[in-house]
């Protein structure tokens, strides 16, 4: 366990040490590249302000992500039972993913104002697709023998879906969830960056405008911590709901 933690932390420690040494040796301006020690000091000094903004970002990301999960599950079920709709709509979803976030975020603000709605919509839009795709692919990859067995027992399409396809899609869905969770915080920050009253995005923008690279990096550090927290929560949920050794290894 200890060696696992050390292996995980070592690259970060080396990176930070290298960065610190580089700043000290080259005398790089802290306005351009502050050393990690300065970033940490700034984070500690501004902890109340950054904490408030982080909480706001986390609430928007959590709300958007939860809605996205529900929407992805419902849509995947609907598309599974209507293959023509899957053929028609999946290309539309694919195209929606090609729209750059940097263009989409200001448009959302323009259309829906500075409130919660545009940010939540942006998170849903960005995180929905990986989950939908992983679910649809999981349903399709269910071993045929499982479906045959249930059909021979007299099960209809819904029973086959509920008893075989849905549980078989679990591992793929968890992978999609993890990918989406990493996008959720980034998408929220992007939306806030385009226009908001609270949140890490607007905090980063204002710190940048004040030439406070240390605060920008402190906020980035917090956003990474938020993403890792979200991933940690997903890991705990996956472990708590695991059924059997295979599920536990997927978690």
């Amino acid at each position: 366990m200890l060696s696992r933690v050390l292996t995980l932390l070592l690259p970060f420690a080396l990176l930070l040490a290298g960065w610190e040494i580089y700043c000290a040796r080259t005398g790089a301006s802290p306005l351009i590249l502050p050393p990690p020690s300065r970033v940490l000091t700034a984070l500690w000094t501004e902890r109340a302000a950054i904490g408030g903004h982080a909480l706001s970002t986390l609430s928007v990301a959590a709300l958007g992500f939860s809605l996205s999960v529900a929407f992805a599950v419902l849509t995947s079920v609907a598309l599974h039972f209507t293959p023509w709709a899957e053929r028609a709509l999946v290309p539309v979803f694919v195209v929606s993913q090609t729209v750059p976030l940097v263009a989409l975020a200001p448009l959302m603000i323009l259309w829906f104002g500075f409130g919660l709605l545009p940010k939540v919509l942006l998170v849903v839009l960005v995180t929905f697709f990986p989950m939908l795709l992983s679910l649809l692919s999981g349903y399709r990859q269910t071993p045929q023998a499982f479906c045959d067995l249930l059909a021979a027992m007299g099960a209809g399409r819904w029973t086959i879906f509920r008893r075989a396809r849905l549980p078989a899609a679990r591992a793929g869905f968890l992978a999609g969830l993890r990918i989406s969770a990493t996008y959720a915080i980034v998408a929220t920050i992007f939306a806030e960056y385009a226009g908001a009253r609270q949140g890490l995005g607007i905090y980063i923008l204002s710190a940048k405008n004040n030439f406070r690279a240390d605060l920008v990096l402190a906020a980035v550090l917090v956003s990474a911590a938020l993403t890792l927290t979200l991933l940690g929560i997903l890991h705990l949920i996956a472990r708590a709901t695991a059924r059997g050794p295979m599920d536990r290894s997927d978690a």
Partner: protein, 247 residues
């Protein structure tokens, strides 16, 4: 008695099985053997009501003289793999057929759990399939099939994935369980030793298109079926298969 009449299974451009008819009495093991690709599994799957997508079939199934739809509760099917759901415990897997048929969870568990001991599965109720050996998994799959209380059991190469020793043990185990709970079994197999060791009757299929070319009763009692006693029958079957297999 179960009767299959005039089954033709076609893939685009060719018949896999042509005008095949067979009947199964209410007890005993019938082995269906034949060269690869002769349509043995297609026949079994058609009976189970799960013909693969892309194949078309015509034929009629009668139970005690009356036509019946497929799938039908009088027939239970065990696929080639044990098909145990990895996310269900062994007890949950064993009750799957009963649950699908609409039985409540508690009632299904109450019916299945007492059978764990006679099936050599005591103590595995709460385990998951990945925690069991190949032989134990096969027993669990067979328990799932047997508790459905169907009159006819369709087994698709049930022991093909097992090593030689486990296979022999499982064959003996199967005959013992069927002696306790008599069922009519239609078993697809490639293994002539398995067919001559277990079956009361052997149906030989030829390929291209699949059809039954021999119906051979095996009157030798199970206890007297040693290697030497069954060797002549195996030779007969081997000759038949070689004759009917295109080179």
């Amino acid at each position: 008695m179960l009767e299959l009449r005039g089954l033709t299974v076609s893939a685009p451009g060719r018949d896999l099985v042509q005008d095949l008819s067979l009947s199964l009495p209410d007890q005993g093991i019938t082995a269906l053997i034949g060269p690869s690709g002769c349509g043995k599994t297609s026949v079994l799957k058609w009976l189970a009501g799960i013909l693969p997508v892309g194949l078309q079939a015509e034929g009629a199934l009668h139970l005690d003289g009356r036509p019946i739809p497929r799938p039908h509760p009088a027939l239970s099917y065990q696929p080639q793999s044990d098909a145990l759901f990895p996310w269900l415990t062994i007890a949950e897997n064993a009750t799957l057929g009963l649950r699908v048929a609409g039985m409540g969870k508690r009632e299904a568990q109450a019916k299945v759990v007492p059978l764990f001991d006679p099936f050599g599965l005591a103590g595995t109720e709460a385990l998951f399939p990945a925690e069991l050996s190949g032989g134990m998994r096969q027993r669990a799959a067979f328990l799932r099939t047997i508790v459905q209380d169907s009159r006819f059991v369709l087994l698709d190469e049930p022991f093909s994935a097992l090593d030689a020793v486990t296979r022999i043990r499982m064959q003996r185990w199967l005959t013992d369980r069927l002696r306790e709970r008599p069922r009519a079994v239609l078993m697809v197999t490639h293994d002539l030793h398995e067919a001559t060791g277990l079956a009361d009757r052997i149906l030989v299929m030829a390929a291209a298109p699949g059809r039954i070319v021999a119906d051979i009763p095996v009157p030798t009692p199970q206890v007297r079926r040693d290697e030497a006693a069954m060797a002549p029958l195996r030779e007969t079957l081997k000759s038949l298969l070689l004759e009917e297999t295109p080179t």
